[in-house]
């Protein structure tokens, strides 16, 4: 992961993260961004639970283009508040979106058109705060948002970048198609005989994928269907500790800065309490051609 972030996510990048909403959030990648002290990033996403809040707190962010930034357990995003209200650790520019509008902004980029029209947001003051959304005659025009890099965490992927993700997908598909590059982190690195056995489940075209990183637990504390439950306790802890700047800095040191990589991080987690051990297999389908 360190190498992938090093090579493909320079300072100033526009990055889409957490595109499946609450599940499959690439926390490991986000923490690596922080460890490598990325600067002036634009974060793009719908709602990323606490990941965006963490990255903002670390001072990596120049602009937020998202629908919701907080902490699903606790509500308010305290780092987000400090940045927006007091410019701590730095001021950030905010482009407010709704979940629907950020999806349309990414589809616009995917189809390479300057904007898409939509019927949401009419009568909302967000039309006044986001310069990239305007309304004319009862239709809202949402400008394209094109990430430099989209980072997704999935259940399994092969070395060529064919990613299998399951469960709700949020805006993962449009975010990946809209991006110049895609970085995939996965629970399992599998042979292509697995991924190509079900081409319908392949999330994105391999031609977009520039790096595949096997990172078990890379979405923790977010859930991963078939692999990990959501770690409510840890997410609640972050919500409490990040209330104060000192608390956040202590949290950051403990869970990110002093942690060399994801393997070390997972050793700090009570994995037994969140590991999914059951099996609820999908019924196979037949791709035979003769």
């Amino acid at each position: 992961m360190a190498e992938a972030i090093e090579r493909f996510v320079p300072d100033g990048s526009t990055i889409a993260l957490g595109c499946a909403l609450e599940p499959l959030i690439p926390f490991a990648a986000g923490h690596e961004l922080i460890r490598q002290r990325r600067k002036d990033l634009e974060l793009v996403g719908p709602i990323s639970d606490s990941l965006f809040d963490e990255i903002i707190g670390a001072g990596c962010v120049r602009r937020i283009t998202a629908a919701w930034i907080g902490n699903v357990s606790g509500g308010l995003g305290h780092c987000y508040r400090r940045a927006a209200e007091q410019g701590i650790p730095r001021a950030i520019e905010i482009h407010d979106h709704t979940n629907f509008s950020i999806s349309m902004a990414l589809w616009a980029a995917a189809w390479n058109v300057p904007y898409l029209p939509a019927r949401t947001l009419l009568g909302s003051d967000i039309l006044g705060t986001n310069p990239n959304i305007t309304d004319v005659d009862g239709l809202v025009y949402i400008s394209a948002v094109r990430p430099d890099v989209t980072i997704v965490h999935v259940q399994r992927c092969d070395s060529q970048g064919r990613a299998h993700a399951w469960g709700p997908l949020g805006i993962s598909e449009e975010a990946g198609l809209a991006a110049d590059h895609v970085i995939v982190s996965c629970e399992e690195l599998v042979d292509e005989s697995v991924t190509l056995s079900d081409p319908n489940r392949i999330l994105l075209p391999e031609t977009k994928v520039v790096a595949v990183v096997q990172e078990p637990g890379g979405a923790h504390p977010a859930p991963v269907q078939g692999f990990w439950k959501r770690d409510h306790a840890l997410d609640n802890a972050y919500a409490d500790e990040s209330r104060t700047l000192e608390g956040y800095e202590a949290w950051l040191k403990r869970w990110v800065l002093d942690v060399p990589d994801r393997q070390a991080y997972m050793k700090m987690v009570d994995v037994d309490s969140i590991r999914i051990s059951g099996n609820r297999p999908s019924e196979p389908v037949n791709f035979a051609d003769e």
Partner: protein, 243 residues
């Protein structure tokens, strides 16, 4: 509050379920009076059964197992944009007497006193669902005369047909359910009135905790208390740290 919210859900309706309390409200309705109500979740899910265990988020594994459809958010939004969502739930930090919600900024956006998380899917639901309901802790600082920022539009300035004139698809807020009472909106008019007060609370209490001059309907009823069945479902799902 959850029991009351669950009663807003009618059988066979397609319900756009938000986070936290509405998830429980949907489960209660599904397992009591609305066995055929389907839940739609913006994460990209449709369900016709309550999840088997506690959900911290709508995307938790128990909400995915047994889903009727796991898809992209833009597909779920398509159904709502077509006017096929009967009822939506929206959370909010501030609501005003016209049902407008603020979940974005307290104070000037360029230098807010409080930066709230933002719309999420709230503004989408507020504009597109046929009708919607918001749940709120009843406090003076939350129920305000006019919200300083309209994230999710209710009845705008309260003038007749404000929504239709501005091209909003849905009919807007049907109720504000608080910890003290239930506000409703008269048909074709935009200002909330007190429909019922929860058992153990009084209209004066409501007046004292509300930031606007509270209107009342002809008769203010007492909110029906939770039934045994409702309580059982709520306890089952609120046990683990839901707020």
């Amino acid at each position: 509050m959850i029991a009351v919210a669950s009663r807003e859900i009618r059988d066979r309706e397609l319900v756009f379920v938000g986070m936290r309390l509405p998830i429980v409200a949907y489960a209660v309705a599904r397992n009591t009076h609305a066995p055929n109500a389907r839940g739609l979740f913006e994460v990209g899910l449709m369900r016709d059964q309550a999840a088997s265990s506690y959900l911290g988020t709508m995307g938790d594994p128990p909400n995915v197992a047994g889903a009727l459809w796991a898809t992209r958010m833009s597909n779920v939004m398509a159904l709502m944009a077509q006017g096929l969502v009967d009822l939506g739930f929206i959370g909010g930090a501030e609501v005003d007497r016209f049902g407008n919600l603020n979940t974005s900024y307290v104070g000037p956006p360029e230098r807010p006193r409080v930066k709230l998380p933002g719309s999420g899917g709230g503004a989408d639901i507020a504009v597109l669902s046929k009708r919607w309901v918001t749940l709120m802790t009843h406090e003076r600082r939350r129920l305000v005369e006019r919200v300083s920022f309209v994230t999710s539009p209710g009845h705008g300035d309260g003038s007749p047909d404000w929504r239709r004139r501005h091209g909003l698809l849905g009919r807007g807020p049907a109720a504000i359910i608080t910890t003290l009472c239930v506000f409703r909106f008269p048909h074709g008019r935009g200002e909330a009135y007190v429909d019922s007060v929860h058992p153990g609370h009084t209209l004066d209490e409501v007046r004292g905790a509300t930031g606007w001059d509270v209107k009342v309907d002809a008769g203010v009823a007492e909110t029906a208390p939770p039934t045994e069945a409702e309580l059982r479902e709520i306890r089952l799902r609120s046990s683990v740290g839901s707020q």
